[in-house]
Amino acid sequence: MSQSLSELLKSALGDAISQVTVFRDEVTLHVPRERIIEVLTHLRDVQQFNMLTDETCVDYYPREPRFGILYQLYSIPRNIRVRVKVMLSEYDASIPSAVPVYRNANWLEREIYDLFGIHFEGHPDLRRILLPMDYQGHPLRKEVPVTVEENAFSFNRARIDATKPYATE
Protein backbone atom coordinates (compact mmCIF):
# COMPACT_ATOMS: atom_id res chain seq x y z
CA MET A 1 0.00 0.00 0.00
CA SER A 2 2.50 2.60 1.14
CA GLN A 3 5.15 1.21 -1.24
CA SER A 4 2.87 1.66 -4.24
CA LEU A 5 1.92 5.14 -3.04
CA SER A 6 5.55 6.15 -2.74
CA GLU A 7 6.27 4.81 -6.25
CA LEU A 8 3.28 6.68 -7.61
CA LEU A 9 4.22 9.98 -6.01
CA LYS A 10 7.85 9.58 -7.05
CA SER A 11 6.89 9.22 -10.68
CA ALA A 12 4.30 12.00 -10.53
CA LEU A 13 6.51 14.59 -8.88
CA GLY A 14 9.81 13.69 -10.52
CA ASP A 15 12.80 15.70 -9.44
CA ALA A 16 10.75 17.97 -7.15
CA ILE A 17 11.25 15.42 -4.42
CA SER A 18 14.76 14.54 -3.40
CA GLN A 19 13.95 11.35 -1.51
CA VAL A 20 11.03 9.18 -0.44
CA THR A 21 11.18 7.21 2.79
CA VAL A 22 8.71 4.71 4.19
CA PHE A 23 8.80 4.19 7.95
CA ARG A 24 6.14 2.21 9.82
CA ASP A 25 3.94 2.27 6.74
CA GLU A 26 4.02 6.06 6.52
CA VAL A 27 5.28 7.78 3.39
CA THR A 28 7.48 10.83 3.78
CA LEU A 29 8.44 12.99 0.82
CA HIS A 30 11.64 14.99 1.24
CA VAL A 31 11.37 18.22 -0.70
CA PRO A 32 13.88 21.05 -1.15
CA ARG A 33 12.71 24.37 0.18
CA GLU A 34 12.43 26.08 -3.21
CA ARG A 35 9.86 23.62 -4.56
CA ILE A 36 7.61 23.17 -1.55
CA ILE A 37 4.73 25.29 -2.86
CA GLU A 38 4.85 23.48 -6.18
CA VAL A 39 4.72 20.09 -4.46
CA LEU A 40 1.92 21.08 -2.08
CA THR A 41 -0.15 22.52 -4.92
CA HIS A 42 0.30 19.33 -6.93
CA LEU A 43 -0.65 17.16 -3.97
CA ARG A 44 -3.75 19.22 -3.32
CA ASP A 45 -5.00 19.63 -6.88
CA VAL A 46 -3.89 16.47 -8.65
CA GLN A 47 -3.46 13.92 -5.87
CA GLN A 48 -6.57 15.08 -3.94
CA PHE A 49 -4.84 15.65 -0.62
CA ASN A 50 -7.46 18.18 0.37
CA MET A 51 -6.75 18.51 4.09
CA LEU A 52 -3.65 19.79 5.82
CA THR A 53 -3.96 17.84 9.04
CA ASP A 54 -0.94 19.22 10.74
CA GLU A 55 2.15 21.28 10.19
CA THR A 56 4.94 21.38 12.68
CA CYS A 57 8.65 21.69 13.16
CA VAL A 58 11.17 19.29 14.63
CA ASP A 59 14.53 20.46 15.92
CA TYR A 60 17.18 17.88 14.94
CA TYR A 61 19.98 19.58 16.86
CA PRO A 62 22.97 18.98 16.58
CA ARG A 63 22.44 17.87 12.99
CA GLU A 64 22.78 20.37 10.19
CA PRO A 65 20.45 21.31 8.48
CA ARG A 66 18.76 21.52 11.78
CA PHE A 67 15.04 22.22 11.46
CA GLY A 68 12.56 19.94 9.74
CA ILE A 69 9.19 21.36 8.75
CA LEU A 70 6.65 18.56 8.51
CA TYR A 71 3.39 18.85 6.60
CA GLN A 72 0.96 16.07 7.42
CA LEU A 73 -1.56 15.75 4.58
CA TYR A 74 -4.71 13.70 4.38
CA SER A 75 -6.95 12.92 1.44
CA ILE A 76 -10.61 12.43 2.35
CA PRO A 77 -11.62 10.88 -1.03
CA ARG A 78 -8.63 8.52 -1.18
CA ASN A 79 -8.29 7.92 2.58
CA ILE A 80 -4.50 8.06 2.66
CA ARG A 81 -1.96 10.12 4.53
CA VAL A 82 1.36 11.47 3.36
CA ARG A 83 4.01 13.55 5.03
CA VAL A 84 6.12 16.21 3.36
CA LYS A 85 9.38 17.21 4.96
CA VAL A 86 11.59 20.21 4.32
CA MET A 87 14.94 20.60 6.05
CA LEU A 88 16.08 24.10 6.95
CA SER A 89 19.45 25.37 8.05
CA GLU A 90 19.79 27.19 11.33
CA TYR A 91 21.41 30.18 9.64
CA ASP A 92 18.79 30.55 6.94
CA ALA A 93 15.62 29.46 8.68
CA SER A 94 12.97 30.72 6.31
CA ILE A 95 10.54 28.98 4.00
CA PRO A 96 7.69 30.05 1.68
CA SER A 97 4.37 30.14 3.51
CA ALA A 98 1.83 27.44 2.69
CA VAL A 99 -1.15 29.72 3.37
CA PRO A 100 -1.95 30.25 -0.36
CA VAL A 101 -2.34 26.48 -0.75
CA TYR A 102 -3.86 25.47 2.58
CA ARG A 103 -5.73 28.17 4.48
CA ASN A 104 -5.39 26.55 7.88
CA ALA A 105 -1.59 26.77 7.69
CA ASN A 106 -2.04 30.33 8.97
CA TRP A 107 -2.13 29.63 12.70
CA LEU A 108 0.09 26.56 12.41
CA GLU A 109 2.85 28.66 10.86
CA ARG A 110 2.37 31.38 13.42
CA GLU A 111 2.84 28.72 16.09
CA ILE A 112 6.04 27.46 14.47
CA TYR A 113 7.30 31.02 14.13
CA ASP A 114 6.48 31.62 17.78
CA LEU A 115 8.07 28.49 19.19
CA PHE A 116 10.95 27.88 16.77
CA GLY A 117 11.62 31.22 15.13
CA ILE A 118 11.22 29.98 11.57
CA HIS A 119 10.37 32.80 9.19
CA PHE A 120 7.57 32.19 6.69
CA GLU A 121 7.89 34.32 3.57
CA GLY A 122 4.62 35.78 2.35
CA HIS A 123 2.62 34.87 5.44
CA PRO A 124 -0.32 37.30 5.79
CA ASP A 125 -0.07 37.81 9.54
CA LEU A 126 3.16 36.58 11.07
CA ARG A 127 2.88 37.42 14.76
CA ARG A 128 3.39 35.49 17.95
CA ILE A 129 0.34 33.40 18.73
CA LEU A 130 0.84 31.45 21.95
CA LEU A 131 3.43 33.41 23.87
CA PRO A 132 3.14 37.00 25.07
CA MET A 133 4.04 39.66 22.51
CA ASP A 134 7.06 40.76 24.54
CA TYR A 135 8.55 37.29 24.97
CA GLN A 136 12.18 37.06 23.90
CA GLY A 137 13.46 33.95 22.18
CA HIS A 138 11.91 30.76 20.85
CA PRO A 139 11.43 28.21 23.62
CA LEU A 140 11.06 24.92 21.72
CA ARG A 141 14.55 25.14 20.26
CA LYS A 142 16.83 22.59 21.84
CA GLU A 143 19.22 25.13 23.37
CA VAL A 144 16.45 26.37 25.71
CA PRO A 145 16.46 24.25 28.89
CA VAL A 146 13.39 22.16 29.65
CA THR A 147 13.02 23.25 33.27
CA VAL A 148 13.19 26.76 34.68
CA GLU A 149 13.26 26.26 38.43
CA GLU A 150 15.65 24.10 40.42
CA ASN A 151 14.81 22.25 43.63
CA ALA A 152 11.10 22.48 43.04
CA PHE A 153 10.39 20.23 46.00
CA SER A 154 11.74 21.25 49.38
CA PHE A 155 10.24 21.39 52.84
CA ASN A 156 12.78 23.97 53.96
CA ARG A 157 10.55 27.03 54.25
CA ALA A 158 13.46 29.40 54.79
CA ARG A 159 15.07 28.27 51.57
CA ILE A 160 11.84 28.59 49.62
CA ASP A 161 11.13 32.03 51.04
CA ALA A 162 14.63 33.20 50.19
CA THR A 163 14.32 32.30 46.51
CA LYS A 164 10.63 32.65 45.73
CA PRO A 165 9.42 36.08 44.62
CA TYR A 166 6.19 36.33 46.62
CA ALA A 167 3.54 38.82 45.63
CA THR A 168 2.55 41.65 47.92
CA GLU A 169 -0.73 43.49 48.26
Binding site: F23, M51, D54, D59
Partner: protein, 429 residues
Amino acid sequence: MAIAEPPIRIEDAPLNAVRVDDVQLDITLEQLKKLVSPRALTGETMLLNMGPQHPSTHGVLRLLLELDGETIVSCIPDIGYLHTGIEKTAEGKTYLKVIPLTDRTDYLAPMSNNLAFCGAVEKLVGIEVPIRAQYLRVILMELTRMNSHLVWLGTHALDIGAMSVFLYCMREREMILDIYEAVSGARMMSSYIRPGGLWRDVPAHFPQLVQRVLDVFPGRILEYEKLLKENPLWKERTVGIGKISAEDAIAWGMTGPCLRGSGVNYDVRKAQPYSSYDHFDFSVPLGSNGDVYDRYKCRMEEFNQSLKIIRQAMKRLPPGPVMTDDRKVAPPPKHEIAYSMESLIHHFKLWTEGFRAPEGEVYFAVESGKGEYGVLLSGDGSPKPRRVHFRAPSFHNLQPLSEISKGALLADIVAIIGSIDIVLGDVDR
Protein backbone atom coordinates in the same frame (compact mmCIF):
# COMPACT_ATOMS: atom_id res chain seq x y z
CA MET B 1 15.82 34.83 12.32
CA ALA B 2 19.06 33.01 13.05
CA ILE B 3 20.30 32.79 16.60
CA ALA B 4 23.64 34.31 15.68
CA GLU B 5 21.99 37.65 14.92
CA PRO B 6 22.44 40.30 17.61
CA PRO B 7 19.17 41.57 19.08
CA ILE B 8 17.81 44.74 17.51
CA ARG B 9 18.52 47.75 19.67
CA ILE B 10 15.73 50.20 20.46
CA GLU B 11 17.51 53.05 18.68
CA ASP B 12 17.78 51.08 15.44
CA ALA B 13 14.15 50.05 15.36
CA PRO B 14 11.93 51.41 12.60
CA LEU B 15 9.84 54.40 13.59
CA ASN B 16 6.50 52.62 13.47
CA ALA B 17 7.64 49.64 15.54
CA VAL B 18 5.53 48.60 18.53
CA ARG B 19 7.18 48.98 21.91
CA VAL B 20 6.05 47.64 25.25
CA ASP B 21 8.05 49.40 27.98
CA ASP B 22 11.58 48.90 26.77
CA VAL B 23 11.11 45.72 24.83
CA GLN B 24 11.29 45.85 21.08
CA LEU B 25 8.69 43.62 19.41
CA ASP B 26 9.18 42.13 15.99
CA ILE B 27 5.84 43.39 14.71
CA THR B 28 4.96 46.79 13.35
CA LEU B 29 1.94 49.01 13.79
CA GLU B 30 1.11 48.59 10.11
CA GLN B 31 0.83 44.86 10.68
CA LEU B 32 -1.62 45.37 13.52
CA LYS B 33 -3.67 47.92 11.57
CA LYS B 34 -4.25 45.34 8.84
CA LEU B 35 -6.25 43.16 11.23
CA VAL B 36 -9.20 45.53 11.44
CA SER B 37 -11.03 47.38 8.69
CA PRO B 38 -10.05 51.01 7.97
CA ARG B 39 -13.39 52.09 9.45
CA ALA B 40 -12.20 51.05 12.88
CA LEU B 41 -9.34 53.51 12.71
CA THR B 42 -11.67 56.42 12.01
CA GLY B 43 -13.99 55.39 14.83
CA GLU B 44 -16.95 54.40 12.66
CA THR B 45 -16.95 50.87 14.01
CA MET B 46 -16.32 49.89 17.58
CA LEU B 47 -13.60 47.61 18.88
CA LEU B 48 -14.74 45.43 21.75
CA ASN B 49 -12.56 43.18 23.83
CA MET B 50 -14.13 39.92 24.95
CA GLY B 51 -12.20 37.81 27.39
CA PRO B 52 -9.87 36.31 28.54
CA GLN B 53 -12.05 36.35 31.66
CA HIS B 54 -15.52 35.94 30.23
CA PRO B 55 -18.07 33.31 31.24
CA SER B 56 -18.97 32.25 27.69
CA THR B 57 -15.55 31.85 26.17
CA HIS B 58 -15.12 28.38 27.72
CA GLY B 59 -11.87 29.25 29.40
CA VAL B 60 -9.40 31.93 28.62
CA LEU B 61 -10.06 32.71 24.98
CA ARG B 62 -9.76 36.36 24.06
CA LEU B 63 -11.62 37.81 21.13
CA LEU B 64 -11.14 41.25 19.69
CA LEU B 65 -14.43 42.11 17.99
CA GLU B 66 -14.98 44.90 15.54
CA LEU B 67 -18.65 45.84 15.69
CA ASP B 68 -20.86 47.89 13.43
CA GLY B 69 -23.79 48.38 15.75
CA GLU B 70 -24.43 44.83 16.83
CA THR B 71 -23.09 43.18 13.69
CA ILE B 72 -19.63 41.69 13.74
CA VAL B 73 -17.35 43.13 11.06
CA SER B 74 -14.32 41.13 12.07
CA CYS B 75 -13.36 38.87 14.90
CA ILE B 76 -9.73 38.37 15.86
CA PRO B 77 -9.15 35.46 18.25
CA ASP B 78 -6.17 35.81 20.55
CA ILE B 79 -5.12 32.51 22.05
CA GLY B 80 -2.22 31.44 24.23
CA TYR B 81 -3.54 32.47 27.64
CA LEU B 82 -3.32 28.84 28.70
CA HIS B 83 -0.12 27.97 26.87
CA THR B 84 1.42 25.31 29.09
CA GLY B 85 4.51 24.24 27.20
CA ILE B 86 3.44 20.60 27.37
CA GLU B 87 5.37 19.80 24.19
CA LYS B 88 8.58 21.15 25.70
CA THR B 89 8.10 19.40 29.03
CA ALA B 90 7.47 16.13 27.18
CA GLU B 91 10.93 16.35 25.64
CA GLY B 92 12.46 16.04 29.09
CA LYS B 93 10.51 12.97 30.18
CA THR B 94 10.58 9.30 29.29
CA TYR B 95 7.77 7.94 27.14
CA LEU B 96 5.87 6.56 30.10
CA LYS B 97 6.03 9.83 31.98
CA VAL B 98 4.61 11.84 29.10
CA ILE B 99 1.21 10.17 29.54
CA PRO B 100 0.15 12.26 32.56
CA LEU B 101 0.98 15.37 30.55
CA THR B 102 -1.30 14.29 27.71
CA ASP B 103 -4.19 14.09 30.17
CA ARG B 104 -3.89 17.78 30.70
CA THR B 105 -4.13 18.93 27.09
CA ASP B 106 -7.78 18.22 26.39
CA TYR B 107 -8.87 17.77 29.98
CA LEU B 108 -12.44 16.86 29.09
CA ALA B 109 -11.34 13.76 27.19
CA PRO B 110 -8.20 12.52 28.96
CA MET B 111 -8.50 8.92 27.76
CA SER B 112 -8.56 9.94 24.09
CA ASN B 113 -5.32 11.82 24.57
CA ASN B 114 -3.76 8.86 26.39
CA LEU B 115 -4.74 6.58 23.55
CA ALA B 116 -3.44 8.92 20.88
CA PHE B 117 -0.06 9.17 22.55
CA CYS B 118 0.18 5.47 23.45
CA GLY B 119 -0.89 4.55 19.93
CA ALA B 120 1.93 6.66 18.55
CA VAL B 121 4.45 5.05 20.89
CA GLU B 122 3.17 1.58 20.00
CA LYS B 123 3.51 2.41 16.33
CA LEU B 124 7.02 3.80 16.76
CA VAL B 125 8.31 0.93 18.90
CA GLY B 126 6.20 -1.73 17.20
CA ILE B 127 4.05 -3.23 19.95
CA GLU B 128 0.97 -5.42 19.59
CA VAL B 129 -1.83 -4.77 22.07
CA PRO B 130 -3.87 -7.71 23.47
CA ILE B 131 -7.43 -7.90 22.23
CA ARG B 132 -8.99 -7.47 25.68
CA ALA B 133 -7.09 -4.24 26.17
CA GLN B 134 -8.27 -3.04 22.76
CA TYR B 135 -11.90 -3.70 23.62
CA LEU B 136 -11.57 -2.02 27.00
CA ARG B 137 -9.94 0.93 25.30
CA VAL B 138 -12.92 1.19 22.97
CA ILE B 139 -15.36 1.16 25.90
CA LEU B 140 -13.37 3.82 27.72
CA MET B 141 -12.98 5.91 24.57
CA GLU B 142 -16.72 5.97 24.03
CA LEU B 143 -17.34 6.86 27.67
CA THR B 144 -14.80 9.64 27.23
CA ARG B 145 -16.64 10.89 24.16
CA MET B 146 -19.86 11.01 26.18
CA ASN B 147 -18.04 12.80 28.99
CA SER B 148 -16.74 15.40 26.56
CA HIS B 149 -20.12 15.84 24.89
CA LEU B 150 -21.91 16.18 28.24
CA VAL B 151 -19.74 19.10 29.26
CA TRP B 152 -20.22 20.58 25.80
CA LEU B 153 -24.00 20.26 26.01
CA GLY B 154 -24.16 21.66 29.53
CA THR B 155 -22.01 24.70 28.89
CA HIS B 156 -23.42 25.36 25.42
CA ALA B 157 -26.97 25.32 26.81
CA LEU B 158 -25.89 27.45 29.77
CA ASP B 159 -24.44 30.07 27.41
CA ILE B 160 -27.66 30.26 25.46
CA GLY B 161 -29.69 30.44 28.64
CA ALA B 162 -30.88 26.93 29.52
CA MET B 163 -29.57 26.51 33.03
CA SER B 164 -31.21 23.23 33.99
CA VAL B 165 -29.55 21.29 31.17
CA PHE B 166 -26.19 22.12 32.71
CA LEU B 167 -27.17 20.64 36.06
CA TYR B 168 -28.59 17.52 34.41
CA CYS B 169 -25.44 17.01 32.32
CA MET B 170 -23.13 17.36 35.28
CA ARG B 171 -25.25 14.84 37.16
CA GLU B 172 -24.82 12.26 34.41
CA ARG B 173 -21.16 13.08 34.03
CA GLU B 174 -20.54 11.96 37.58
CA MET B 175 -21.56 8.43 36.58
CA ILE B 176 -18.80 8.37 33.98
CA LEU B 177 -16.31 9.87 36.40
CA ASP B 178 -17.18 7.06 38.82
CA ILE B 179 -16.07 4.58 36.17
CA TYR B 180 -12.84 6.53 35.66
CA GLU B 181 -12.26 6.43 39.37
CA ALA B 182 -12.95 2.70 39.58
CA VAL B 183 -10.47 1.82 36.83
CA SER B 184 -7.70 4.32 37.43
CA GLY B 185 -8.17 5.83 40.89
CA ALA B 186 -8.55 9.40 39.65
CA ARG B 187 -11.70 11.24 38.71
CA MET B 188 -10.36 13.19 35.77
CA MET B 189 -6.70 12.64 35.04
CA SER B 190 -6.70 8.92 34.57
CA SER B 191 -3.37 8.07 32.81
CA TYR B 192 -4.89 4.61 32.56
CA ILE B 193 -3.92 3.70 29.02
CA ARG B 194 -0.23 2.79 28.74
CA PRO B 195 1.99 1.81 25.83
CA GLY B 196 1.25 -1.87 25.29
CA GLY B 197 -2.17 -2.02 26.90
CA LEU B 198 -3.67 -0.79 30.12
CA TRP B 199 -2.20 -0.07 33.54
CA ARG B 200 -4.18 -2.94 35.13
CA ASP B 201 -7.30 -4.94 34.49
CA VAL B 202 -10.64 -3.35 35.28
CA PRO B 203 -12.10 -4.03 38.74
CA ALA B 204 -14.77 -6.67 39.28
CA HIS B 205 -17.65 -4.19 39.53
CA PHE B 206 -16.75 -2.51 36.23
CA PRO B 207 -19.53 -4.28 34.28
CA GLN B 208 -22.16 -3.11 36.77
CA LEU B 209 -20.95 0.48 36.54
CA VAL B 210 -21.05 0.41 32.74
CA GLN B 211 -24.42 -1.33 32.78
CA ARG B 212 -25.81 1.47 34.94
CA VAL B 213 -24.69 4.01 32.33
CA LEU B 214 -26.23 1.90 29.57
CA ASP B 215 -29.53 1.61 31.45
CA VAL B 216 -29.85 5.20 32.56
CA PHE B 217 -28.53 7.10 29.58
CA PRO B 218 -31.10 6.53 26.81
CA GLY B 219 -33.81 8.05 28.99
CA ARG B 220 -31.63 10.97 29.93
CA ILE B 221 -30.82 11.73 26.30
CA LEU B 222 -34.55 11.88 25.59
CA GLU B 223 -34.85 14.26 28.52
CA TYR B 224 -32.28 16.65 27.04
CA GLU B 225 -33.89 16.45 23.64
CA LYS B 226 -37.28 17.20 25.16
CA LEU B 227 -35.79 20.34 26.65
CA LEU B 228 -33.94 21.52 23.58
CA LYS B 229 -34.66 19.86 20.25
CA GLU B 230 -38.01 21.41 19.44
CA ASN B 231 -37.70 24.31 21.86
CA PRO B 232 -38.47 27.45 19.81
CA LEU B 233 -36.07 29.57 21.87
CA TRP B 234 -33.27 27.09 21.26
CA LYS B 235 -34.02 26.86 17.55
CA GLU B 236 -34.19 30.63 17.26
CA ARG B 237 -30.67 30.89 18.61
CA THR B 238 -29.16 27.99 16.66
CA VAL B 239 -30.84 27.32 13.30
CA GLY B 240 -29.00 29.04 10.45
CA ILE B 241 -26.39 30.56 12.78
CA GLY B 242 -22.69 30.09 12.22
CA LYS B 243 -22.91 28.33 8.87
CA ILE B 244 -19.85 26.83 7.24
CA SER B 245 -19.87 24.97 3.93
CA ALA B 246 -18.33 21.54 3.46
CA GLU B 247 -15.51 22.85 1.23
CA ASP B 248 -14.59 25.57 3.69
CA ALA B 249 -14.69 23.19 6.62
CA ILE B 250 -12.25 20.83 4.87
CA ALA B 251 -10.00 23.68 3.78
CA TRP B 252 -9.83 24.96 7.35
CA GLY B 253 -8.91 21.51 8.63
CA MET B 254 -11.99 21.15 10.81
CA THR B 255 -12.68 17.65 12.08
CA GLY B 256 -15.13 15.88 14.32
CA PRO B 257 -18.76 16.95 14.70
CA CYS B 258 -17.94 20.39 13.28
CA LEU B 259 -16.95 18.81 9.97
CA ARG B 260 -19.72 16.22 10.02
CA GLY B 261 -22.29 18.90 10.77
CA SER B 262 -21.46 20.27 7.31
CA GLY B 263 -22.12 16.86 5.77
CA VAL B 264 -18.59 15.55 5.23
CA ASN B 265 -18.33 11.90 6.15
CA TYR B 266 -14.96 11.75 7.83
CA ASP B 267 -14.48 9.91 11.08
CA VAL B 268 -11.11 8.43 12.00
CA ARG B 269 -12.85 5.47 13.62
CA LYS B 270 -14.33 4.52 10.23
CA ALA B 271 -11.68 5.83 7.86
CA GLN B 272 -8.60 4.40 9.53
CA PRO B 273 -9.80 2.12 12.33
CA TYR B 274 -7.57 1.80 15.37
CA SER B 275 -7.97 -0.33 18.49
CA SER B 276 -10.29 -2.74 16.63
CA TYR B 277 -13.05 -0.21 15.97
CA ASP B 278 -13.76 -2.17 12.79
CA HIS B 279 -15.20 -5.00 14.90
CA PHE B 280 -18.19 -2.91 15.87
CA ASP B 281 -21.26 -1.84 14.04
CA PHE B 282 -22.08 1.84 14.31
CA SER B 283 -22.97 4.72 12.04
CA VAL B 284 -21.56 8.21 11.74
CA PRO B 285 -24.24 10.88 12.10
CA LEU B 286 -24.07 13.61 9.48
CA GLY B 287 -25.63 17.05 9.25
CA SER B 288 -26.44 18.98 6.12
CA ASN B 289 -26.51 22.73 6.78
CA GLY B 290 -23.33 23.15 8.80
CA ASP B 291 -24.99 25.48 11.29
CA VAL B 292 -25.04 25.45 15.07
CA TYR B 293 -28.20 23.35 15.17
CA ASP B 294 -26.77 20.64 12.90
CA ARG B 295 -23.65 20.35 15.00
CA TYR B 296 -25.91 20.00 18.02
CA LYS B 297 -27.90 17.22 16.32
CA CYS B 298 -24.73 15.36 15.29
CA ARG B 299 -23.40 15.31 18.82
CA MET B 300 -26.72 14.24 20.30
CA GLU B 301 -26.84 11.31 17.87
CA GLU B 302 -23.26 10.41 18.78
CA PHE B 303 -24.45 9.74 22.32
CA ASN B 304 -26.66 6.96 20.97
CA GLN B 305 -23.92 5.59 18.73
CA SER B 306 -21.47 5.54 21.65
CA LEU B 307 -23.96 3.59 23.73
CA LYS B 308 -24.38 1.16 20.85
CA ILE B 309 -20.62 0.56 20.63
CA ILE B 310 -20.28 0.12 24.40
CA ARG B 311 -23.13 -2.37 24.44
CA GLN B 312 -21.48 -4.48 21.70
CA ALA B 313 -18.05 -4.29 23.31
CA MET B 314 -19.35 -5.28 26.74
CA LYS B 315 -21.17 -8.25 25.28
CA ARG B 316 -18.11 -9.51 23.39
CA LEU B 317 -15.43 -8.49 25.90
CA PRO B 318 -12.87 -11.32 25.69
CA PRO B 319 -10.90 -12.60 28.67
CA GLY B 320 -7.12 -12.49 28.70
CA PRO B 321 -4.27 -10.17 29.58
CA VAL B 322 -4.56 -6.40 29.29
CA MET B 323 -0.85 -5.72 28.85
CA THR B 324 1.46 -6.95 26.16
CA ASP B 325 3.95 -9.65 27.16
CA ASP B 326 6.72 -7.78 25.35
CA ARG B 327 9.04 -7.15 28.31
CA LYS B 328 10.68 -4.34 26.45
CA VAL B 329 7.87 -1.99 27.43
CA ALA B 330 5.74 -3.94 29.90
CA PRO B 331 6.75 -4.28 33.54
CA PRO B 332 7.13 -7.80 34.97
CA PRO B 333 4.15 -9.03 37.00
CA LYS B 334 4.12 -8.15 40.67
CA HIS B 335 4.50 -11.72 41.97
CA GLU B 336 7.59 -12.19 39.85
CA ILE B 337 9.27 -9.12 41.32
CA ALA B 338 8.93 -10.70 44.76
CA TYR B 339 11.26 -13.61 44.06
CA SER B 340 13.23 -12.79 40.91
CA MET B 341 16.15 -10.39 41.18
CA GLU B 342 16.25 -9.90 37.40
CA SER B 343 12.61 -8.87 37.35
CA LEU B 344 13.20 -6.37 40.12
CA ILE B 345 16.13 -4.85 38.25
CA HIS B 346 14.12 -4.84 35.05
CA HIS B 347 11.22 -3.10 36.74
CA PHE B 348 13.55 -0.54 38.25
CA LYS B 349 15.28 0.12 34.93
CA LEU B 350 11.97 0.44 33.13
CA TRP B 351 10.69 2.99 35.60
CA THR B 352 13.86 5.08 35.93
CA GLU B 353 15.46 4.87 32.52
CA GLY B 354 12.49 3.87 30.38
CA PHE B 355 12.44 1.97 27.13
CA ARG B 356 14.16 3.11 23.97
CA ALA B 357 12.30 3.94 20.79
CA PRO B 358 13.91 3.88 17.35
CA GLU B 359 14.75 6.95 15.33
CA GLY B 360 11.95 8.15 13.10
CA GLU B 361 8.63 9.93 12.95
CA VAL B 362 5.14 8.54 13.23
CA TYR B 363 1.72 10.11 13.21
CA PHE B 364 -1.17 8.46 14.98
CA ALA B 365 -4.67 9.88 15.14
CA VAL B 366 -7.76 9.00 17.12
CA GLU B 367 -11.26 10.41 16.97
CA SER B 368 -11.74 12.25 20.23
CA GLY B 369 -14.96 13.99 21.17
CA LYS B 370 -13.82 17.13 19.42
CA GLY B 371 -12.30 15.74 16.27
CA GLU B 372 -9.13 14.16 15.03
CA TYR B 373 -6.65 14.16 17.89
CA GLY B 374 -3.28 13.29 16.43
CA VAL B 375 0.16 12.86 17.89
CA LEU B 376 3.25 13.42 15.80
CA LEU B 377 6.04 11.67 17.60
CA SER B 378 9.70 11.92 16.69
CA GLY B 379 12.02 9.49 18.39
CA ASP B 380 15.79 9.78 18.43
CA GLY B 381 16.84 6.37 19.74
CA SER B 382 16.94 7.49 23.36
CA PRO B 383 14.32 6.84 26.07
CA LYS B 384 13.00 10.38 25.65
CA PRO B 385 11.14 11.70 22.62
CA ARG B 386 12.85 14.27 20.44
CA ARG B 387 9.60 16.02 19.72
CA VAL B 388 5.97 15.42 20.59
CA HIS B 389 3.42 17.46 18.72
CA PHE B 390 -0.27 17.27 19.47
CA ARG B 391 -2.58 17.86 16.56
CA ALA B 392 -5.26 19.50 18.67
CA PRO B 393 -8.75 19.41 17.12
CA SER B 394 -9.89 22.52 18.99
CA PHE B 395 -6.99 24.52 17.56
CA HIS B 396 -8.09 23.74 14.01
CA ASN B 397 -11.79 24.11 14.74
CA LEU B 398 -11.28 27.51 16.33
CA GLN B 399 -9.27 28.94 13.47
CA PRO B 400 -12.21 29.60 11.10
CA LEU B 401 -14.11 31.43 13.86
CA SER B 402 -13.24 34.76 12.27
CA GLU B 403 -14.78 33.60 9.01
CA ILE B 404 -17.84 31.89 10.53
CA SER B 405 -18.74 34.85 12.70
CA LYS B 406 -18.48 37.49 10.00
CA GLY B 407 -21.84 39.23 9.72
CA ALA B 408 -23.32 37.50 12.73
CA LEU B 409 -24.76 39.33 15.70
CA LEU B 410 -22.81 39.83 18.89
CA ALA B 411 -25.07 37.43 20.79
CA ASP B 412 -24.51 34.74 18.15
CA ILE B 413 -20.80 34.55 18.79
CA VAL B 414 -21.55 32.93 22.12
CA ALA B 415 -23.64 30.27 20.40
CA ILE B 416 -20.95 29.71 17.75
CA ILE B 417 -18.13 29.29 20.26
CA GLY B 418 -20.30 26.87 22.19
CA SER B 419 -21.11 24.84 19.11
CA ILE B 420 -17.55 24.37 17.91
CA ASP B 421 -16.76 22.98 21.35
CA ILE B 422 -13.31 24.28 22.12
CA VAL B 423 -11.24 23.46 25.15
CA LEU B 424 -8.55 26.02 25.71
CA GLY B 425 -6.15 23.50 27.16
CA ASP B 426 -6.33 21.79 23.81
CA VAL B 427 -6.01 24.96 21.76
CA ASP B 428 -2.99 26.31 23.62
CA ARG B 429 -1.35 23.11 24.90
